[in-house]
């Protein structure tokens, strides 16, 4: 075990490997042994990928030995949420229905990580099919927040957040549909990025709600976060919705003297926001102001409707996306001589209750006679929300809000109240609906020590401004 491994950033590891302070195999050993001890305690991983990881680490060491280029992520241990396909390793989406499913292909995300020299050490636990905000909806059991006190890590990418916060890996990837990276990042006290829609290829990401799904990343500092994004972003022919856009070397551009116009939407600071968390956000606003940035009160009038339309569009798409899990081709099958009975039994036993709830809701809102009232109307409101943001971004560079109305809650606290759980996404869902990038960055803590997350949203494909302001904020806090 390398001393202080869990404190090493990706940049530290890359430097250490180049300086030959340690080898890639040693790094890989450290990550995997921590994953087996601490990771098991937290239930952060579903699968560890020892064999492939060590093979890749040995290859990195060989390259170092021969003075060959090891790539921009050479030797850095990485974890992938278990809904991102990685060849020959189980991809379960934390669902019973994907029992024994092993993808025969790599997601574009995995392909790009591997070709950049990254070492994927395991697949992380999550809410089943990314549906949940506490990581309690996993067939493989809940994930625990490493800050202690039996708190949830947030969801749905709880395993990835937990693994990064616990120092098992410096970088992990999760997925976002309505806050599933930002909210766990806030709950665990780390950095989380939800890129612009189309920023990272979705090819190989098991779909929840296609029009909002995005792969996102976690790190313990902004430089690693921006590096992770730089490696995997950009157009991919396999994903028609991915976009070709300018993506500079973000980690080299973090230091900036830019003074930003920051908008504070009044709709995000009304009832429901925890007082103590709100206070941390207020302090941050004052810090920004003191640093010379301009704070402007703004309005996103349609944002109060976001959570309602989010839970129509997301469940509608989910009901269709999850239809493929039918027991015919792969995964779980509960045998029956009658086809319809086989479907019923397999899907009934294979899906957890939250997933079933959403499939039923989604089927309902798309049904003949209801489509116009729900799905179609929700899409219209979504357009209005997008326009709200477009209008606002004529005036300001970014929008600042809390990431979540509260800090992390206890395991079991909200599991029986789906509506309260859905409201965890109230501040994050608008960015997914609008397709804009957003980060959650650590912003102090409430009095009992639970971390608070600050959210910053920018216009589509302006991730650079987010990285720069986050970098600046980290400096201000020091």
């Amino acid at each position: 075990m390398i001393a202080e491994y869990s404190k090493l950033s990706a940049m530290d590891i890359i430097k250490g490997l180049r300086d030959k302070s340690f080898s890639a195999v040693e790094i890989c050993e450290s990550a995997l042994s921590l994953a087996e001890s601490k990771g098991r305690e937290l239930n952060a991983f579903i699968t560890l990928t020892h064999d492939k990881a060590f093979a890749q680490a040995r290859e990195i060491d060989r390259k170092i030995h021969h003075n060959e280029d090891i790539g921009p992520l050479g030797g850095v241990p990485i974890a992938l949420k278990d809904n991102i396909c990685y060849t020959d390793c189980p991809t379960t989406c934390a669902s019973h229905i994907l029992d024994k499913f092993i993808p025969p292909y790599d997601s574009t995300c995995a392909t790009r990580l591997i070709s950049a020299g990254g070492i994927i050490i395991g697949k992380t636990n999550m809410d089943e099919f990314a549906m949940g905000s506490s990581n309690e909806n996993s067939y493989y059991g809940p994930v625990i927040n490493p800050i202690g006190n039996n708190l949830v890590p947030g969801g749905s990418s709880g395993g990835s957040a937990s693994a990064v916060a616990a120092g098992i890996v410096p970088i992990a990837f999760g997925s976002e549909t309505g806050g599933s990276v930002r909210q766990p990042a806030a709950f665990c006290g780390i950095y989380g990025l939800k890129p612009s829609y189309g920023g990272i290829s979705r090819y190989g990401l098991a779909a929840f709600a296609s029009s909002m799904d995005q792969i996102g990343s976690f790190a313990r500092n902004i430089k690693d976060l921006s590096l992770a994004y730089r490696i995997v972003c950009g157009r991919d022919e396999n994903d028609s919705t991915s976009v070709a856009f300018a993506h500079p070397d973000y980690p080299d551009l973090l230091e900036s003297e830019r003074k930003f116009q920051i908008g504070i939407p009044r709709e995000f600071f009304l009832e429901g926001l925890d007082k103590e968390a709100g206070k941390q956000i207020d302090n941050a606003i004052k810090l920004f102001q003191k640093d010379g940035h301009t704070i402007k009160e703004i309005s996103l009038p349609n944002s109060p409707l976001a959570i309602a339309i989010y839970y129509i569009i997301a469940v509608a798409e989910a009901s269709s996306n999850l239809a493929r899990y039918d027991g015919v081709k792969y995964g779980l099958r509960i045998k029956d001589d009658d086809l319809i009975n086989m479907y019923d039994k397999t899907r009934n036993l294979g899906f957890g209750s939250e997933v079933k709830r959403r499939i039923i809701l989604g089927t309902y809102v798309l049904s003949a006679g209801y489509y116009d009232a729900y799905y179609f109307k929700a899409q219209q409101v979504r357009e209005l929300l997008k326009r709200d943001f477009e209008t606002v971004f004529k005036d300001v560079d970014m929008v600042l809000t809390p990431t979540s109305p509260t800090a992390a809650f206890k395991i079991g606290e909200r599991i029986d109240d789906p509506l309260a759980m859905y409201l965890s996404d109230i501040y994050t869902a608008p960015a997914n609906l609008a397709g804009i990038p957003a980060v959650s960055i650590p912003c102090g803590a409430v009095s009992d020590g639970r971390p608070v997350g600050l959210q910053l949203m920018a216009k589509a494909f302006d991730e650079l401004s987010l990285f720069q302001i986050a970098s600046r904020f980290a400096k201000l806090g020091e």
């Binding site: 993808p103 025969p104 090819y203 190989g204 098991a206 779909a207 396999n238 028609s240 798409e317 081709k329």
Partner: protein
Amino acid sequence: MADSLTISGYEAVIGLEVHAQLSTESKIFCGCRVEFGAPPNSLTCPVCLGLPGALPALNKKTVEYALRMILAIDGTVRLRSVFARKNYFYPDLPKGYQISQFDLPIGEGGEIAIPIPGEKRKKVIRLRRIHLEEDAGKSLHPESGEKFTRVDFNRCGVPLIEIVTEPDICSPQEAYAYLIKLKQILQFLGICTADMEKGHLRCDANISIRPIGLSKMGAKTEIKNLNSFKAVEKALAFEIEHQVQVLQSGGIIKQCTMLWDDKHQVAEPMRSKEESHDYRYFPEPDLVNLVVTEEWLNQVKATLPELPEIRAARFVRQYNIPEYDANVLTESRELADYYEKVMQNFGDGKAASNWIMTQLLKVINEEKAELENYHISPVMIAELLNFVQSGKISGKIAKDVFEEMVATSKTAGEIISSRGLTQISDDSLIREVIAKVLAENENNLKKYLSGKKQIFGHFVGQIMKETGGKANPGLVNKILQEKLDELAR
């Protein structure tokens, strides 16, 4: 059937929905090859198998093929169309939905004119829409003894266009004529091989009847599982008869879906459970809107293959053949192509069309062979016709040679030289034979010169006999006449 309709006082209102498989090399949303008869599940990938995380990426060629069809039938191209998901559960539908087009299809309107038997004018069948979609896999149900249905996903993602008519068709015969015409257009455009046996074309029919003169439509039934053009015609006739009987006995037609049973020649209603689908269409979020630029459209326009009527008109002009011949020759693209390949190596359009329509097509029909890749190539036909035209062989001998070509695949040149069939067109040689024959038939010659002109034919027979049938008959006639005229002076 049409007669019984008239007698019963009803008329039929028919609309057809045809699915045509596009003959692109690869599938509509992935790079898998499209091929008929490959081993089950050998032409699949994560995308067409609908594995978790796989995403569709549109094959532009399929759009081009759809555009050809829309342009050819004078439809309207929607410059921004939308793919939609049609959701239903079935084992051969791996994603649990089919990617299709719903309220915003790529093509709308257009028309196809069909011939009316015994009349010169044509009847126009209006089209409602043309849209792009992916095919599903194939369920192979147990033959006997086996308990399982097997699924072959090779066909998943094969590109289809669905072509929907307005209810303009009034009889089973018209439906048949429409399908023949549609097939011809698809083939001429080179976008579908249109082999119904291989499932390249599939047809569903909607049918209702109403008292003649009434404009309100009756309740309709939909007939599925129509596996040939003849089946469409028969099933429609069956269903019209059925509906007339129901109405005449005071019953009412219930809207339902029927399955045609070709073996027993009956249409049976489907179980209501099987047809109560709510497809929950919604726009496919994995694909961006399908945008057709004016530039792209113009490109497709500029390279649009020639349609049958236009090609027939050109044949009349270019090869100087009668309209009838041109129409026969453009019945299929293969035949038209064959004729033109013959004409690349031969100069007489009419002689070529005669030969193809009488000799070649007769053999093709007898052998039930396919013209494409037939062992007698257009070049071989051209060679044969050139021998006739240049006088090397007679038309009669050409038929013998052709027979041998069919039997042996040898070229005309090979057969003629090996059998020594070259026609004698050598003046001096023919003169020698004439001199010899006249010398040996002194009596007959005297009779001829004394006025018995009918003996001319006898001389010709003798000359042909002497030359083994190879003497050029035209030359024989000409020289013999000269010679006899000379002697008569």
